[in-house]
Amino acid sequence: MTRAVFEAEMAFASQPLVAAIVICRAGDNLHSGLLYLDTNSAVRVLHLGWQDRLYNSWGWPRLWAAPDVEPERLASVAALCRLIWEDYEAKKKFPYGLKFLQTSFSPNGQLLLGPGAKGLTCATFVLAVFNSFGIQIVNESDWPVRQDEDRRFLDRMRPHMDPGHFALLEAEISEGCRRIRPEEVVGACSCHLPALFVPSREAGDEVIRLLDAGPRPA
């Protein structure tokens, strides 16, 4: 397992693991994605970003951590990220393994949620990718319902989202869903998996502290 570290302090490409979870602060929001190596060993970040589109690049400082799984499992996740991006570019659809999301993409690449689909955030997208390969980063049933906090988080995300998607997420919050936050997903990487809420939240607070402090000078 790894504690979160800035790219500037430890370059992802300089160590042997090929997939990890990355987080940044974008204004008031925290945003997460999947850090991985492509077949040319270039570092990529797959994330669900602006206007519910998939992106393969990341313009912010990177604070990253790898979950506590064997290297072979991370290699598979990296390959899945490459496949997701390839399918997104070519066909605007998710690979078979993410069928449970019941989502696809419009011709211009925007997320389309099918009937019965759950709303996706950047953090739950990361969890879904790991889940599809049998890697449960968090024990969701251990998470509390935090409706007020979640509504405040959603309000901050509103300008970046499709109205229909926003409405779905809002309804889920009202129904009492357990929403996992980007810093908790990264914090879970320093815990035994599937991570429980308390240690993930504590580690997530540390992630926020690190983000606010910025990378240590070289």
Partner: protein, 166 residues
């Protein structure tokens, strides 16, 4: 009477010489090489017939040929180019699953030679087929076979490697 080899295919599976009849026959890849002229003759004839066969509608015979992309996967694996090997494998298996070709995918799982895969590729194979595990009957046997291999290759890590993939 012309004695030039005018070939036609008489290719069929037969029951065993000994014992009872078989059900599902295992795939037999021509894995014993030959160096002489007659071995080369057999190889060339077989290849020429396979080209004709591949051009026909395979559904008419109901027989599947192990896909050639598997050899790419094995070759990349042998060269420790695991990322490329995984990409080839994931791309093709994902296509089969997205096109609902579950029977073909199941046959593929039978045809894969685990001896030619390293731990990365075996874990990758289980990962990419996890979502379809309930509709790939051979997958549970594959898990068992891979577990046996992992107990030799990485005995201290078997449970962590397979956690969530069974």
């Amino acid at each position: 009477m012309s004695l030039r080899p005018q070939m036609f295919i008489a290719s069929y599976t037969a029951g065993p010489i000994w014992g009872r009849g078989t059900g599902d026959l295992p795939r037999f890849r021509r894995s014993i090489p030959g160096v002489g002229d007659e071995a080369e003759l057999v190889r060339q004839q077989t290849e020429a017939l396979l080209r004709q066969y591949e051009a026909q509608d395979k559904s008419a015979t109901g027989e599947e040929v192990a896909p050639m992309w598997l050899e790419d996967t094995y070759a990349y694996c042998m060269q420790s180019r695991d990322a490329e090997a995984l990409d080839v494998m994931f791309r093709h298996i994902n296509t089969l699953l997205c096109e609902d070709q579950f029977s073909k995918c199941n046959d593929l799982l039978r045809a894969i030679d685990l001896q030619r895969l390293d731990t990365h590729l075996m874990i990758g194979l289980l990962s990419i087929t996890l979502a379809a595990s309930s509709i790939l009957p051979f997958r549970s046997q594959l898990v068992s076979n891979i577990e046996s291999r992992l107990r030799k290759l990485a005995p201290d890590r078997v449970e962590r490697l397979l956690n969530g993939l069974r």
